[in-house]
C-alpha cells in the first residue's frame, strides 16, 4: 500500500491527479474500519490530515464554507449556533473520540446512506465543493449521492468543503438506533424551516440506497403553512396535516430489511420522527415569533 501525505491543498490535488486510485483518508473513522475488516485493500491512501486549508471555515457571500477536514466536535463547538441541525446530528456521531477525529468531508466521501451528517445537509440545501488539479465545482448535495456508498466525485477529485447558508429558522435532527448512544442509524430524519423563503427542507438517512430528501412532504407542508398564512402568523398546524407530512416522509423512503432493522419499521419510524421533529421545529417558530 502506498502512503501519500501532502502538506498543502495544491500538493494534495496534484497527488490525486497522479494517483486517481488513491483513497483519501481524514479522521480514518470509516476507512480504517474498512481496512481492518478486510473489506477494502486500497492500493494507495492519501492522508489529508496535514492539509491545513481543509480545517478552516469561513463565510463567502452569506454562505458558510466549511473545510472538509473540520471535525464533528468543532462543528458542535464552533458552528452549533449557525448550523443547529448539523450540530444535532454531529452530537449523535459515535463517541467523543470518534467526533474528535471524524469529519463531514469524510462522511460525504464515504457516502453511506447511514451517514449522520447527510440528512441535515439535505434539509438545508448544502453544496459540496469538489476540486481537482484542473479546477473546482460545486454540486448540490441533493445531486451528490448517486448510489449506495457512491457519490458524484470523479476519481481525480477531492472534497474541499461544503457550503451552506446559516440557519434561517428552526432545525431538528432525530435518529433511531437500538442503543441510547454510540449507534449507527436504523433511520434518521432532519428538518429545516426556512422562514424567509417559506420552505421546508427534509433529509432522510439510512432508509434507502442513498440519503434522500422527501420532496413531496416538503412541498406539502410548505403549502399548508402558506395557505393558512402560518408563516407570518404562527399558530397550531392541523394535526391531520402533520400526520400527512409524516406519511409523505415515510413514502419517500426506500428502505430494505437488514441487520439493523426492517423496512416496515423504518417507514413507520420515519413517519413518527417527521411528525415529532416538525412539531418541535414549529413550536420553536411559534415561541420565537
Amino acid at each position: 500500500m502506498e502512503f501519500l501525505q501532502p502538506t498543502t491543498w495544491t500538493e494534495a490535488l496534484e497527488m490525486k491527479a497522479a494517483h486517481p486510485e488513491a483513497l483519501p483518508i481524514a479522521g480514518g473513522t470509516d476507512v480504517m474500519v474498512e481496512i481492518n475488516f478486510d473489506r477494502q485493500r486500497p492500493a494507495a491512501v492519501i492522508d489529508l490530515t496535514k492539509v491545513a486549508e481543509l480545517e478552516e471555515w469561513g463565510t463567502e457571500n452569506g454562505m458558510l464554507r466549511v473545510g472538509a477536514g473540520v471535525t464533528y466536535s468543532r462543528i458542535i463547538e464552533e458552528l452549533g449556533g449557525r448550523l443547529p441541525g448539523l450540530a444535532m446530528a454531529s452530537r449523535t456521531v459515535g463517541s467523543p473520540q470518534i467526533r474528535n477525529r471524524g469529519t463531514v468531508g469524510g462522511n460525504l466521501g464515504s457516502a453511506s446512506p447511514a451517514g449522520d451528517a447527510h440528512p441535515p445537509l439535505l434539509s438545508s440545501g448544502a453544496l459540496v465543493e469538489l476540486a481537482s488539479a484542473s479546477g473546482s465545482r460545486r454540486v448540490p448535495v441533493r445531486e451528490f449521492f448517486v448510489g449506495p456508498k457512491r457519490n458524484a466525485m470523479r476519481n481525480d477529485e477531492l472534497i474541499a468543503a461544503f457550503l451552506v447558508e446559516p440557519t434561517r429558522g428552526p432545525e431538528q435532527f432525530s435518529k433511531v438506533g437500538t442503543r441510547n448512544a454510540m449507534v449507527i442509524a436504523v433511520c434518521s430524519f432532519a428538518i429545516a424551516l426556512d422562514v424567509e423563503r417559506k420552505r421546508v427542507g427534509t433529509g432522510i438517512g439510512s432508509a434507502g440506497p442513498t440519503p434522500l430528501a422527501a420532496i413531496d412532504a416538503e412541498e406539502f407542508m410548505a403549502g399548508v403553512l402558506d395557505e393558512s398564512g402560518l408563516w407570518e402568523r404562527p399558530a397550531d398546524v392541523d394535526p391531520n396535516a402533520v400526520a400527512r407530512f409524516g406519511e409523505l416522509v415515510a413514502a419517500a423512503a426506500r428502505p430494505i430489511d437488514d441487520v439493523r432493522g426492517t423496512a416496515a419499521y423504518r417507514r413507520h419510524a420515519l413517519a413518527v420522527l417527521a411528525r415529532r421533529t416538525f412539531t418541535w421545529a414549529w413550536d420553536e417558530r411559534r415561541r420565537s415569533a
Binding site: 475488516f37 452530537r91 432525530s174 437500538t178 441510547n180 439493523r260 419499521y265
Partner: protein, 769 residues
C-alpha cells in the same frame, strides 16, 4: 525468553474488607499487558483459514501458492495434527482443523505462520479450498426429526433430559401457557482470543494464554500435540474478559502446532470479526411452558419443553441443557413437573458456556409465566412469587432438598419496598434520560413507564457428579524484615477479583499484612475453571486450607522454639491466633512476632479443596442430588418505553442477592453491576444474528453492547446469610445478577406497552408493528 506478563501484586486486606483491584491503575492507563499484547523477539504470526460455508464437504486443499508467498514459514492442515485430531470439553467431537467436512461458518480449516501478520493473512487467503456445498441444517426443530441430515455419527441430539416429578396427570383450576424464544447472546469479551506459543527446543512447548482453566487446556493440548503433560506448560497471560468464552480451546492448539513445526515462537490474536467465530455463544432457546395453579395461587404443576440450539459442536452443551431443565421452574415450590429438554447439533455457530449457563434462558420463560399466572388469578405478581417461593428444605423438581438459606421470599420483599425512581420531570429536557438517548427521538411523546419483577437461581460449581477440586500452594517467609505470604494457584483472574479473594483469605487466616498472589500457571495443581461462580468457593477454600496448614506449622514451630528457650511446651498453642504479623495469645499479648520466629525459615504447604459430592441426573426421571450449592437473586426494573418508536430506556434496576458472605464487598458490587448490564444487553439489544448459518453482525458496530447511557444506576441490597457448608459461609456471586435482570426488564416493557413479548432481545419493531 519470556513475554511481559501482568505483575504479581502485593496486596493486603482481610476477609470482608473492600479491596481494590491491584491492576486497576494499569488497566485504566492502558498499561496492563493483555494476552493480545504478548510478544518476544523473532516471533512469527499465525493466521487461520476459515470455512466460508456453514456446511460443506472439503474436496481439496491446495496450499502450494500460500507456501511460496513471502515470509510464510508453515501452512498446516488436519494432516499435521500430531496427536488426537478432535477435542471437546465433554464430547471429543470438534476437529482441531476440519477433516473432510466443515460444520459451521468460520470453522478452522488450515493454519499459516509468517513473519508478519499481514503476510500470514494474505497467505491464508491464498490457501485454495474446494468445497462441495451442502444444505445447512439451521433449524433446531428440524434437527430433532428423522429426516434431518446427521451432523455427527450418533445423530443430532447432543443430550436429552427428562425430569418427572410427582403426579404426571395433575390438573389445576387455572392454567396458563406460553412460548418463548431467546436469541444468541455473545460473551463479547473485549480481549480477543490470543496467545503466544514458544517451543522449548526439546519437543515441548510453553504457551502464554488467556484462558479460564489452564489445566483442562493443558490436558487437551497434550492430547492434540501427542506430548506428555509435562512437555506442555501453560502460563496465564492478561485476560480481557471471559464470561464463558474462554472455556473451550480457540487458538491454543493452533499456535502450539505452528510453533512446534517452525521451531519459532508463534503469536496468534484474533480480529474482532474472527473472535465472533472463535468462541462459543449462549445457546438460543425455544421454550413452551404450561403452568397449573390452584385458585389461591399455589403452583400445582409445570410442564416445560426446552430446546437449545447447540450449533455444530458439543462444547459444554450437555451441562447447559441440564441446568436449563433442573431450574426450569424457577425458585418456586412445585410438587408436579414434566420437563423435557434437548440440546441439538445444527450448522449454526457452536454454543456453550456463558454466564448464567442455562438458567438465563429458562428464567425468561418461568418469570413470564408467573406474570401471566398472576394476571389470570388477579394477584399481584410479587405476591404470587412469594406465595410459591422455595425456602430452606424445599425440594427441587429433581427431588433434591435445598439446605442452607433460601431467601427467595425475602429477596422479593426487599426489592418490592425499595424506593422508586422519580418520574422524568417535564420542565427540563434531558435527552440522556429519554428512550433513544442523545439521538433526540422523543421529548416525552409516547413515553410510558413500566415496572417489572423477576427472581432466578442457579447452581454454584460443577454439578452431576463432577470431581471438582482446587489446589493452592501457600508460602510464608520473611522478606525485608516482614513476614510475607505468597499464594500460588492456577485460578484464572478473569476480572472477577479472584486475586483479591486469595490474598484476603490468606491474610485473614495467617494474620499477615503483606500477601503476594503469584501469576497462575501449570507449575501448581489445577484450580478448576473460573466458571459456574465457583472460584471464590473452591479456590478460596483451597487457599484457606493451605493457609491453615501453614498456620499449624507456624504454631508447631513456635511451640518447639519456645520450649527450647524454656518458655513453654507442647499444647501451649491452644488459644493462640495469628494477628498483625505475630502470634497472639488468648489474652491478646504478643507471644512472638512472625519475623522473629521465622528468621530464614520458609513454611510452604499445598492443599486441595473439594466441595461436597453430587450425582448425575437419573436418565428416566431426572431425579438426583445433582448440585452442591444454589445462589439466588431478584431484580426490579423500571423502564420507560417510547411506544411509538419501540425504544427503551431502563430507568433503574434494583437487586437483592444473598452472597452468603461478601469476601470483598467492592468486587461483589462489581459483579452485581456487570451481571445486570449483561442481562440488560440480552433483554434489549445483544444478539448474534444468524441467517442460513452465517453470522450477519460480527462486529461491535452491529452487535450492540450496553453503554453507560443504557445501563442505569443499580440499587443494591446485598444479604450475607451465611451458608453453613462453604468457606466463610460464602456463596458464588458472579452469575445470579445476569439471570433475573433481563426478565425483570422484559416484564417492565410488557407493563409499559401491554404487549405480550415472546422473544428477546426485544427489538423496536416487536413493540410497534
Amino acid at each position: 525468553m519470556k513475554p511481559k506478563l501482568p505483575p504479581a501484586a502485593l496486596m493486603s486486606g482481610r476477609v470482608g474488607e473492600p479491596v481494590r483491584r491491584p491492576d486497576a491503575a494499569l488497566k485504566t492507563r492502558g498499561d496492563f499487558p493483555y494476552s493480545s499484547d504478548l510478544q518476544v523477539d523473532g516471533m512469527l504470526w499465525g493466521a487461520t483459514v476459515r470455512s466460508p460455508h456453514p456446511y460443506a464437504r472439503i474436496v481439496s486443499i491446495d496450499s502450494t501458492e500460500a507456501r511460496s508467498m513471502p515470509g510464510v514459514r508453515a501452512v498446516l492442515t488436519h494432516d499435521d495434527v500430531p496427536g488426537k485430531k478432535v477435542y471437546g470439553l465433554e464430547i471429543p467431537d470438534q476437529p482441531v482443523l476440519a477433516i473432510d467436512v466443515v460444520r459451521y461458518w468460520g470453522e478452522a480449516v488450515a493454519l499459516v505462520a509468517a513473519d508478519h501478520p499481514e503476510q500470514a493473512r494474505r497467505a491464508a487467503h491464498a490457501v485454495r479450498l474446494e468445497y462441495e456445498v451442502l444444505a445447512p441444517l439451521t433449524n433446531p426443530e428440524l434437527a430433532l426429526t428423522e429426516n434431518a441430515p446427521r451432523l455427527h455419527p450418533d445423530g443430532n441430539i447432543t443430550r436429552a433430559i427428562k425430569i418427572r416429578r410427582g403426579d404426571q396427570n395433575a390438573r389445576a383450576d387455572v392454567v396458563v401457557t406460553g412460548e418463548y424464544e431467546v436469541g444468541m447472546q455473545d460473551q463479547a469479551p473485549l480481549g480477543p482470543e490470543s496467545g503466544l506459543a514458544i517451543p522449548d527446543g526439546a519437543g515441548g512447548v510453553d504457551l502464554y494464554i488467556a484462558t479460564q482453566w489452564l489445566h483442562i487446556d493443558r490436558d487437551q493440548l497434550a492430547g492434540v500435540l501427542g506430548l506428555p503433560h509435562e512437555a506442555v506448560r501453560l502460563t496465564m497471560a492478561g485476560i480481557g474478559g471471559a464470561f464463558g468464552a474462554r472455556e473451550d480451546l480457540s487458538m491454543q492448539a493452533h499456535a502450539c502446532m505452528l510453533a512446534l513445526r517452525t521451531g519459532r515462537p508463534v503469536k496468534m490474536s484474533y480480529s474482532r470479526a474472527e473472535s465472533f467465530v472463535g468462541h462459543v455463544h449462549r445457546h438460543p432457546a425455544r421454550m413452551r411452558y404450561e403452568h397449573g395453579a390452584t385458585r389461591d395461587g399455589k403452583l400445582v404443576y409445570v410442564k416445560a419443553r426446552i430446546l437449545l440450539d447447540g450449533g455444530a459442536y458439543a462444547s459444554s452443551s450437555t451441562a447447559v441443557i441440564s441446568n436449563a431443565c433442573c431450574f426450569a421452574v424457577g425458585p418456586y415450590e412445585c410438587p408436579n413437573a414434566i420437563i423435557d429438554g434437548w440440546v441439538v447439533y445444527t450448522n449454526n455457530p457452536p454454543c456453550g458456556a456463558m454466564r448464567g449457563f442455562g438458567s438465563v434462558q429458562n428464567c425468561y420463560a418461568h418469570e413470564a409465566q408467573m406474570d401471566k399466572l398472576a394476571a389470570a388469578l388477579g394477584m399481584d405478581p410479587v405476591e404470587l412469587r412469594i406465595h410459591n417461593a422455595m425456602k430452606t428444605g424445599s425440594t427441587l423438581v429433581t427431588g433434591q432438598a435445598v439446605d442452607g438459606p433460601v431467601p427467595v421470599a425475602e429477596l422479593l420483599s426487599r426489592i418490592k419496598v425499595m424506593p422508586m425512581p422519580t418520574a422524568v420531570s417535564g420542565d427540563h429536557l434531558d435527552l440522556t434520560q429519554m428512550p433513544g438517548g442523545v439521538s433526540n427521538t422523543t421529548h416525552g411523546e409516547g413515553v410510558r413507564r413500566g415496572v417489572g419483577y423477576a427472581v432466578g437461581f442457579k447452581n454454584v460449581g460443577y454439578s452431576e457428579g463432577f470431581n471438582d477440586y482446587s489446589t493452592a500452594r501457600v508460602k510464608l517467609a520473611v522478606a525485608d524484615g516482614r513476614p510475607r505470604v505468597e499464594v500460588h494457584t492456577a485460578g484464572a483472574e478473569v476480572g472477577q477479583g479472584l486475586v483479591m479473594v486469595q490474598a484476603q483469605i490468606a491474610s485473614t487466616v495467617l494474620g499477615v499484612h503483606d500477601v503476594v498472589v503469584l501469576g497462575a500457571d501449570t507449575q501448581v495443581g489445577s484450580s478448576g475453571s473460573s466458571s459456574a461462580s465457583r472460584q471464590t468457593y473452591i479456590t478460596g477454600g483451597a487457599v484457606k486450607a493451605a493457609s491453615e496448614a501453614v498456620r499449624d506449622r507456624v504454631f508447631a514451630l513456635a511451640e518447639s522454639e519456645l520450649s527450647g528457650l524454656g518458655r513453654g511446651g507442647s499444647g501451649e498453642s491452644d488459644g493462640w491466633r495469628l494477628e498483625s504479623d505475630a502470634i497472639v495469645s488468648a489474652d491478646g499479648g504478643v507471644v512472638i512476632t512472625l519475623a522473629t520466629l521465622l528468621g530464614e525459615e520458609v513454611i510452604e504447604e499445598t492443599r486441595e479443596y473439594r466441595p461436597r459430592r453430587t450425582s448425575r441426573l437419573d436418565g428416566e426421571t431426572g431425579q438426583a442430588n445433582a448440585h452442591m450449592q444454589f445462589a439466588f437473586a431478584a431484580h426490579r426494573a423500571v423502564v420507560d418505553v417510547d411506544v411509538e418508536l419501540g425504544l427503551v430506556k431502563v430507568v433503574e434496576l434494583a437487586t437483592a442477592q444473598d452472597v452468603g458472605k461478601a469476601i470483598n464487598p467492592q468486587a461483589v458490587e462489581g459483579q452485581l453491576e456487570g451481571g445486570a448490564a449483561q442481562g440488560l444487553g440480552l433483554a434489549v439489544m445483544e444478539e448474534i444474528q444468524v441467517k442460513d448459518g452465517v453470522i450477519r453482525n460480527p462486529s461491535f458496530t452491529d452487535y450492540l453492547l450496553p453503554t453507560t447511557l443504557d445501563m442505569p444506576q443499580l440499587r443494591m441490597d446485598v444479604l450475607e446469610l451465611g451458608d453453613p457448608n462453604s468457606p466463610f459461609g460464602l456463596k458464588g456471586v458472579g452469575e445470579p445478577p445476569a439471570i433475573s435482570s433481563g426478565p425483570a426488564i422484559v416484564a417492565a416493557i410488557r407493563t409499559a406497552t401491554g404487549r405480550e413479548i415472546k422473544r428477546v432481545p426485544v427489538r423496536p419493531h416487536d413493540l410497534t408493528l
